[in-house]
Subunit: 151 residues, 2 copies
DNA sequence: AATATATATGCATAATTATACAAACAATCT
DNA sequence: AGATTGTTTGTATAATTATGCATATATATT
């Protein structure tokens, strides 16, 4: 089922581009081979609890994460559970293995958790690397992520 | 000009009721003698940076404050500046005098600032009373509010 | 005061979004 | 397997929201 993949891709897209209509999102998804209609995107947005706000930079509307919506964070956690295969820590890094093609989406979800002392978060196709300021913090974050995923 | 009054009334309305359409808001405003159309409400919502989110309680859409929008908070501050006449503190209270009829709106804006140790916030027609847990906190909050208003 | 300029609003409508309904598809049961 | 039930999606459209343009109202300028 492409549903989960599509939804996390949506999270990634809106954290990368300023998407101001659902039709826009449809086009971007189609470029990425998600054959989808506006109706479905409307439903996804509802489930993900995304909101349309005025962008501070451009003054135009854009879709964004709604930090205030707990149903939404549940959804993010669900997506993490779906896509994360393994978690480990080496030195000041946490390495997250994901389903193929999902790493960038997972990266943007992890960003949303605002983990302490994160220096940065990069990804390939199926791997996310979170860089911390020191080894202790990465241990701690690994724990937190494991707890989230097993909750 | 009724514009500021109307906008702060909108803030009050959405923090009191679950408003799910602009037409709804128009009706509520009309009950309060703000003769207004949906077009104007649409523009107000844009300026106030309000968002439409899924209500966690009812599962329906509703308008809400967007905490993430700095243009919006500027707007709240502007409304405070417009409507607040005086600020003083007595014991563990801060007393805010406002333009007539604006107290309830100002109350809901002040709520948004999440001041420390607020026990509660009540209002009449032109007066807001913020109750703190102790006298020091009310002094401190008075200062913060003064700074906000004179910024 | 008269004129010019800026701001706010309504009307009409374009643009956008949500959803009822039907169809496709998947999962479960007998 | 076939029947049953639940889930996801598209189509078509209803519902909602944003906005161009005209007008009114306020503000500033001479």
């Amino acid at each position: 089922m492409a549903r989960s993949a599509r939804q996390s891709k949506i999270l990634e897209i809106i954290s990368t581009y300023e998407v101001d209509t659902q039709e826009d999102l449809v086009l971007k998804l189609r470029e990425l081979n998600f054959d989808v209609t506006q109706a479905t995107v409307s439903r996804d947005i509802k489930e993900l609890g995304l909101i349309k706000i005025l962008s501070n930079e451009t003054g135009k509307y854009k879709y964004a994460f709604a930090d205030t919506n707990s149903q939404a964070s549940n959804k993010y956690i669900f997506l993490l559970k779906e896509a994360v295969i393994s978690l480990k820590t080496i030195k000041n890094f946490v390495i997250v293995r994901t389903l193929k093609g999902m790493a960038s989406s997972i990266c943007s979800i992890i960003d949303k958790f605002n983990l302490e002392d994160v220096m940065g978060c990069v990804n390939g196709d199926d791997t996310v690397m979170i860089i911390f300021s020191n080894n202790e913090e990465s241990e701690y974050a690994l724990n937190r992520l494991e707890n989230i995923i097993n909750s």
